[in-house]
Symmetry: C2
Subunit: 284 residues, 2 copies
């Protein structure tokens, strides 16, 4: 039985009683195999896993999908419970605050902003988004005080933002980024995939396929980067692409002339649904 | 002998060796009796006092006085040493980083912003100033890990910003705001007073005198507030005033209709020098 906690005070008391290593998986719920992969990894490594479900209003823009973001707590609890059963000596604590004020009390006023990383690429299209992410993650880290926190690399820029915040603010924990989970067609799993019609789902395949193709053009060779950039330029003539960016995998800098690791970040938009994906690659 | 530390690594080692209570006085140096008052209070209460001198570039605007801000480290050390002598069983550790990178490493990128409080009044005139303050104070708190940190109430809005940050980020320490120290003329002590010419120093008296007068008009009575506001309006016709604001002492809200504690915040400008002062008052 998954232990469900909805109040911050109760969470603090529970946390104070833990003696083993605590892993943490923060999510916005509507769980899919990508989230369960994080949970499973956390259960393998830690004695207890705190798992949070909180649709954080601070990371949604005024015209974004906060209201319609899928909330499926009963199904989420069932999925967590199934996974927990596989690890009979471990415990999962599910923190799903009922009220935004459990996370951000009425008069709270402090924002954490990873300035450069948060304004690039996805951050430029969603002003304030990563500030909202950093602020809620700081708060959750402070409540859960995990030894290790797990994030999916599907949101690669988010992972970098959080890692930078943890470093700059000297928060005593380890961040682990877990590989993207894809469906059989190659589409990266995302709660927002369910916004897609059947037709859009077919069209969505172009996203993962294009990234794979660009990666194969580069083929780990610096000398192929210019060719890949030319191909990206041609691909971007299809207006459904918000962006395809080839960047330094650590800094997200555009200058990749001396980069050893690259990331290829892309958003393909179908209707109002923005699908994120990325691939990592090394340069010989 | 004051123990002087200039490297962050050295500071961490020193701090790790402390066993008693640690008090903390963060400053930008160029010490005067106001700073020494903080130090003395900290020495009375704590076993060890960490005292920092760091002219924080992040809290100066592009056209402000970062470069000409007075740096008088030798005199500062002498003043701290004199004070320390009075408390032979106590110890002062002076942290005066030589290089900005000791506080903000090259790739650090995270800013802390107390959003509402930082954009009001003084914050509206100095965009980013309080974000720079909050960010450096977080960093210093994390290094020094004090039990109590001391701030002068001369910078009242700064005190509120830091108090709010500590609350929101759940930083485990106590903030104490210490009363303003004034010279015999009533002028609040400030490192920036030395920018004043003899003539300007005479003119500066209007600042404390005006605040005192407005406070006496209010005379702790809600019914006198309208009259005080009218007088403020007349006084502000003298363009040397940047502002005189009568606000709720906790929130700095303009709506003081149900406030029990008020603050009167003002800046009087002489040449390029902005002189800050404030008074607190209670409403019966």
């Amino acid at each position: 039985m998954v232990k469900l906690i909805t109040k911050t005070q109760q969470l603090k008391e529970e946390r104070a009683s833990e003696i083993g290593d605590v892993g943490f998986v923060p999510t916005m719920g509507n769980l899919h195999a990508g989230h369960i992969y994080l949970l499973e990894e956390a259960l393998k490594v830690n004695d207890v896993v705190y798992f949070s479900i909180f649709v954080n209003p601070k990371q949604f823009g005024p015209n974004e999908d906060f209201d319609k973001y899928p909330r499926t707590i009963e199904n989420d609890i069932a999925l967590i419970g199934e996974c927990e059963k596989k690890y009979p000596r471990k415990k999962v604590v599910l923190f799903s605050p009922e009220d935004v004020q459990e996370i951000f009390p009425q008069n709270s006023d402090t924002q954490i902003s990873v300035q450069t990383l948060s304004t690039l690429i996805e951050g430029a299209l969603r002003p304030g988004h990563f500030d909202g992410v950093a602020t809620v993650v700081y708060r959750l880290f402070d409540l859960v005080k995990p030894k290790i926190a797990y994030f999916g690399l599907k949101d690669y820029q988010q992972y970098l933002v959080i890692r930078q915040m943890v470093k700059d603010l000297n928060i005593p924990l380890e961040i682990i980024g877990m590989p993207i989970i894809r469906d059989e067609s190659g589409l990266a799993l995302s709660s927002r995939n369910q916004y897609l019609t059947t037709e859009q789902k077919k069209n969505a395949l172009i996203l993962s396929q294009t990234l794979k193709k660009i990666k194969s053009v580069i083929d780990n060779k610096k000398s192929n980067i210019d060719q890949a950039k030319k191909e990206i330029e041609i691909i971007l003539k299809d207006n459904n692409w918000n962006y395809i960016e080839l960047r330094d995998a650590e800094t997200l800098s555009e200058d990749i002339s001396s980069s050893r690791k690259l990331t290829l970040l892309a958003v393909y938009q179908l209707g109002t649904t923005r699908l994120l994906d990325n691939l990592q690659m090394e340069i010989e």
